[in-house]
Amino acid sequence: MSPEAQEFLGTFASETFYYWASVFMLLIHAGFLAYEGGASRTKNVLATMVKNLLTLASVGLAFFFFGWWVYNAFPLFPVTGGILGPWTNPEQSETIQSAMELVEASYPWSPALAPNTGDHLTGVFFFAFALFAMTTASILSGALIERVKVGAYLVLSVVLGAFTWVVGAAWGWNPFGWFVTNLGYHDFGCSAIVHGISGFFALGVLINLGPRVGKYDEAGNPRPILPHNLPLTMVGLMLIFVGFYAFLAACVIFLPGYTGETTIYGTPMTLASIGVNTTLALAAGLVGAYISSKSEPFFTISGGLAGIITVGAGLDLYHPALVIVLAFAGAFLMPKVIVAIEKAGIDDAVGAVGVHGVCGLLGAVLTGIFAAGYPQGADIPPINFVGQLIGALVSVVLLGFIPGYGVSWLLKRFNLLRVSREEEVMGLDIADLGIEGYPEYPTMTLISNITKGVGGNGISQAPTSSELAMD
């Protein structure tokens, strides 16, 4: 084989790896679609799924226009430098010179993103990051189902998916990021950067959005609004698990000329360890949530996700036995957090704050304890508890909760956040789309019209749309 062919083989290996990892990451979205659709009621199933589907459009386009640039332009801002762009002089320092090569490749007009035989990798990294961005926004989508306006959700998805989490990634998931260079922050699987930010962003939005009609009784006690298709929700989560393997694989860096795999921070790792640790985190997470929730199906399957997120930040370093213990603990905690949030009057339809927000925050902080002392570079502090805590808190509060609360508050002020009570009672399938998800089947509305009262199993259900309409 000629040296040119051998060199190209290395390029092709990287290009192919990230391409297919990103394709498999799309399963996360197929999973979220099924998960949210199943978690909604029959009157909202189509609107819920369409809203989730549109995430691919809103975030995909916004990520092309500015999200990809934000990732490359914000690592130094505001601690070690400014925002990098066409106005930046690359001669200022070696760091800026290296960073500017990536910035210039991330403008929408950059030749690097278009078909270009001189650059095989910028496009696949854009692809992978765009899928990360869509995942982050999809987490928000589930929490808001059955009452948010589609337009409001799309605005929120752009803010979260193409800006705030990307700033978090620039700071804490980028070798030039000031979280990394100044604090020694380490978040291999994006526990706080993706999950923490999106979970707390969702919390901020939920405070302004308010609970679904009928979620709380007069005394403020929560009532169950049951998923219309729990099996679909469970299949959705299984798809998310599959996508997560790809997501975490895409966090491994292997570039042409490399003699080993590294993390985004340049520390050594193996793809095999991700396979082992993700599998064990999934298993232990299911166990933790199963025991904690006393075998409640929704919590149990969410436990797999909670387990992976809890160990995500240190997945490249943890011993498998440590993964089991931590994933179990995180997933055991998760149902308690979700119940506490519900009792506090926040209607998080899919438990996004508990699963993603709290487990993500926990995951980043735990790395400061259980992976403390790992060196990350010549002039970079080793992994430490304070660095992890600061990085995680800045992520979830400054880039998660505050923007989520602020943007949703603005939308609420202009009456753009929530659908009207009438539309909510009627169901968003009819209100938004003009068609029902199950036109040929007897829906709960029809059954409740016939039975007029307590559910067949003797358990009092949340008021149905027809009852509320009569009210």
Binding site: Y290, I324, A372, G373, A378
Partner: protein, 142 residues
């Protein structure tokens, strides 16, 4: 510190274990035991999950015995664990000559675990015989 490395040069050039506590086998042993306990507790808990799990069930001892028997049965499969296998290891006869003996040496232990598992499951499902409806009731249904 959980890191086995003190400098980045050492870490980046590592050609071996890089995981947390790689230099503290005691911690790893403890974590493996803890994770094994979690796994066993999971099996135990799954039997009484819907029966107010916080309260110990009447069958706590039986379930613990089942798990212990199952684990010991599985251990008997580990080469060199059971006395019969140790004897077998010292046997210098050709493998073909011993082939018919070895399954009998390991299977009883495994089977004991499986049989006790079946027995317990049967015990748990045992219910009071359903009382036949009174004749007057049957007549009314008819």
């Amino acid at each position: 510190m959980s890191s086995p490395f003190s400098t980045f040069e050492e870490f980046s050039a590592a050609k071996g274990p890089i995981y947390t506590f790689a230099n503290s086998p005691g911690v790893i042993t403890f974590l493996i035991l803890l994770s094994a306990l979690i796994s066993l507790y999971f099996l135990y808990a799954s039997f009484g999950m819907k029966n107010e799990f916080a309260k110990p069930t009447d069958e706590t001892g039986a379930i613990a015995l089942l798990i212990a028997t199952g684990v010991s049965a599985l251990l008997s499969l580990v080469p060199g664990y059971s006395p019969s296998q140790r004897l077998e290891a010292n046997d210098l006869r050709p493998t073909a000559a011993r082939a018919h003996v070895s399954p009998r040496a390991t299977l009883p232990g495994v089977l004991m675990g499986l049989v006790s598992m079946t027995g317990l499951a049967t015990g748990r499902n045992r219910q009071r015989p359903r009382r036949r409806p009174a004749r007057s009731m049957r007549r009314r249904q008819g």
